[in-house]
């Protein structure tokens, strides 16, 4: 039995939903970051599945770009978290709501 | 004890305590030392010291949030024994170091007050276990100075021969452990391999590989064994080849240079101010060697150089040790060639036991023999300080006699003890990994530190 593309879409949707919930529920900046990665992965999965279903390699190319951009984002984001932590010794975004250095 | 016991089935006899009695109760000095549960702050301060600190974390409230405290030792594999360091880290950088010692303290200065002057070398030889002969020599020189005797030239030459060889063996251990602590595993084995040839010679001469009890007040315990010249010549022939190997292995090795150059720097001023002696001082460029400044055992008769470092980093300390091995071997060669003939103990019945055969012939000799081995020889009252250049620096012995057969007070100026004060300076603002290289290059012997 072949797996329908819809199944992949459903899985991706579930992953995205979990990621979004985590984004909203957690206060730890690092975990929130990971939730973003979860959501990006969900998107990637839809792209791959759609590309497979539509027989279009551009889906994979798009995933490739997303991967690179995600890597860049993580690099910068983690650097920011580290430098914030140096100042405030906390990774909870609630504590960082003021835009004071 | 008359019945024969068979080997296979031996009864387990009761173990009994004998030979020693319960120590007499000694009232302390006007109760000055007792401390009760309820004491005033001032009394507690007197008893415990000015800074009553937690033994584990001396400074929990670090001023700077980014600093963390890492406890290194006393069971760390490369703190050279039971040295404990409290490192105050800022990331990977050490900001403050506090050496904490005393884990190997065995009260040898107290023990020395219980042992006669002739038993003394068995005690002091256990202090610096890498250079036992130097410890014995310092003690013997102090006793001889109080006695006002001069040992025969052959004894002096033997003392120099063995102590200089001991310096070589001790430096070899320092090189070996320094190499290993930076990660050069083979250097460890190589250093110990060459040390082995020297220890074999010591074993042949003194019967023991370390803790020899060989150099004694009044001379040395025994003449050099037959064939000693061959052994020493073999060592002298082998060592230069091995030193060349060390140089090939480490001297220009880029990783070794990167790990040691500019690491753990102690400047000349700091070294002098903190009382560093020996190779640690000379690596900073200070030309100070007790063998040149206050010659002992006739070392001024022999030619040798005092190698100096430039900036006092780990590399310089390593180089100074290598050069000192070469110089020591030079001395050994000269001593070997010029070994005088004659007695190796002072010919004084009050200090040296009589010849064995005479015990059977002369009642007087028998009485001397008994007296020397039971109560030992008496040393005139007085105080003196004798220092030798041990592989780690100035090894001094401050000896006070009140006219009895035991020292009234024996204090050892341990070079490692004072050298250890240079560690925080050398390690300030360096990386964690440099700690190891620095400790190894300072070459502390914990037996010497804690005594």
């Amino acid at each position: 039995m072949i797996v329908e593309p819809g199944w992949y879409m459903a899985l991706a949707a579930a992953l995205f939903l979990i990621g979004a919930m985590g984004m909203l529920l957690r206060r730890n900046a690092l975990v929130m970051f990971m939730c973003i990665e979860l959501m990006l992965n969900a998107v990637n999965l839809t792209l791959i599945a759609a590309g497979r279903a539509l027989n279009d390699l551009n889906g994979q190319v798009a995933v490739f770009f997303i991967l690179v951009v995600a890597a860049a984002e993580v690099v910068v984001g983690l650097a920011i978290i580290v430098s914030i932590f140096r100042l405030r010794a906390t990774a909870s975004v609630d504590e960082l709501s003021e835009l004071k250095g | 004890m008359t019945e024969e016991r068979t080997w296979g089935a031996r009864d387990t006899l009761d173990l009994w305590v004998a030979g020693t009695e319960e120590p007499e109760f000694q009232p302390t000095d006007e109760g000055a030392q007792e401390i009760g549960a309820v004491e005033s702050e001032a009394r507690l301060r007197e008893q415990l010291g000015t800074a009553i600190g937690d033994d584990y974390m001396f400074d929990d409230e670090v001023a700077d949030e980014e600093r963390s405290i890492v406890n290194m030792g006393p069971q760390h594999p490369s703190t050279h024994g039971v040295l404990r360091l409290q490192l105050e880290l800022e990331g990977e950088v050490i900001r403050r170091t506090r050496p904490i010692i005393g884990y190997l303290h065995t009260g040898m200065e107290k023990t020395a007050e219980q042992l006669t002057f002739s038993q003394g070398p068995t005690n002091v030889t256990r202090m610096d276990y890498l250079a036992p002969l130097h410890c014995e020599l310092a003690y013997s020189l102090a006793v001889e100075r109080l006695l006002g005797i001069e040992v025969p030239p052959r004894a002096q030459a033997i003392r120099l021969l063995t102590t200089e060889l001991n310096r070589v063996s001790s430096h070899l251990v320092a090189l070996a452990t320094n190499g290993m602590d930076v990660g050069a595993l083979s250097m460890m084995i190589y250093g110990f391999r060459e040390r082995e040839s020297i220890l074999a010679f010591f074993e042949k001469t003194t019967g023991l590989r370390m803790n020899h009890n060989y150099i004694r007040p009044g001379g040395v315990a025994a003449d050099l064994p037959p064939g000693w010249k061959d052994d020493v010549a073999a060592i002298l022939e082998e060592m230069p080849r091995r030193l060349a190997q060390y140089d090939d292995l480490l001297k220009d090795n880029p990783i070794w240079l990167a790990r040691t150059r500019g690491v753990g720097i102690i400047t000349a001023e700091e070294a002098v101010a903190y009382g560093l002696t020996g190779p640690n001082l000379r690596a900073s460029g200070v030309d100070w060697d007790l063998r040149k400044a206050f010659p002992y055992s006739g070392i001024d008769q022999y030619e040798f150089e005092v190698p100096l470092g430039e900036q006092g980093d780990v590399y310089d300390r390593y180089r100074v040790k290598v050069e000192e091995i070469v110089e020591s071997l030079k001395i050994v060669e000269q001593v070997m060639d010029a070994m005088p003939k004659g007695d190796w103990r002072v010919d004084d019945q009050k200090i040296t036991p009589p010849p064995r055969r005479r015990i059977d012939e002369s009642m007087e000799a028998l009485i001397h023999h008994f007296k020397l081995f039971t109560e030992g020889f008496k040393v005139p009252p007085g105080e003196t300080y004798a220092a030798v250049e041990s592989p780690r620096g100035e090894l001094g012995c401050y000896l006070v006699s009140d006219g009895e057969a035991r020292p009234y007070r024996m204090h050892t100026r341990a070079p490692s003890f004072y050298n250890l004060q240079g560690l925080p300076i050398a390690m300030a603002d360096s990386m964690v990994a440099d700690t190891i290289a620095t400790i190894a290059s300072m070459d502390p012997v914990m037996g010497d530190v804690d005594r």
Binding site: P5, I18, N55, D56, A91 | -
Partner: protein, 173 residues
């Protein structure tokens, strides 16, 4: 058959990992959950013949990005920090409610409506050429070369920025 089994297994793994990311109190366990999800998704890529993307997913995401996460977690020592205090009191029930509604909506859409998620392709490329390195590389370096260069530039700038951020030390007052 194999594909279904793999999908079920890896899908469950991905979901379990995702739930761990959100639920775990310790960020290291969150990272491990993310690792599980990433690897499961990578396998799903392989199932769909996207070999290159799967490999890159593991190398870049699991190998570098997540390692970086772990590095930061250990470096700044937040692994013991637990976020328990809640300032927006209604947020959690609200999120739960909205999520439930979304799930209901999606389920209803799937069950009741005759909704075709993705129209199947009429002609399939042979498996052998689909998703190999060459197959992905050709569009990447022809049609998308501008975007490729742009991302390269982005990555360089990001790296430089990160170094600048990390190297910047505020002068202590």
């Amino acid at each position: 058959m194999v594909e279904l089994a793999l999908f079920a297994l890896m899908g469950l793994g991905a979901l379990a990992g995702a739930v761990t990311v959100v639920m775990a109190r310790n960020p290291v366990y969150s990272a491990m959950g993310l690792l599980a999800t990433l690897l499961s998704v990578a396998v799903l890529y392989v199932v769909q013949l996207a070999h290159l993307v799967a490999a890159v997913q593991v190398i870049v995401y699991a190998g570098a990005v997540l390692t970086l996460f772990l590095f930061v977690i250990m470096l700044i020592g937040v692994d013991q920090v637990v976020d328990t205090d809640e300032r927006l009191r209604y947020q959690r029930p609200l999120v739960g409610g909205v999520a439930g509604l979304i799930i209901l909506f999606a389920a209803a859409l799937t069950m009741l409506g005759d909704f075709d998620w993705v129209p199947p392709a009429t002609v399939m490329n042979p498996d052998a050429t689909n998703g190999t390195v060459e197959a992905v590389a050709v569009p990447l370096f022809t049609d998308w070369v501008l975007a490729f260069e742009a991302t390269a530039l982005l990555l360089t700038v990001a790296a430089a920025g990160a170094i600048a951020l990390a190297a910047y030390r505020r002068r202590r007052v």
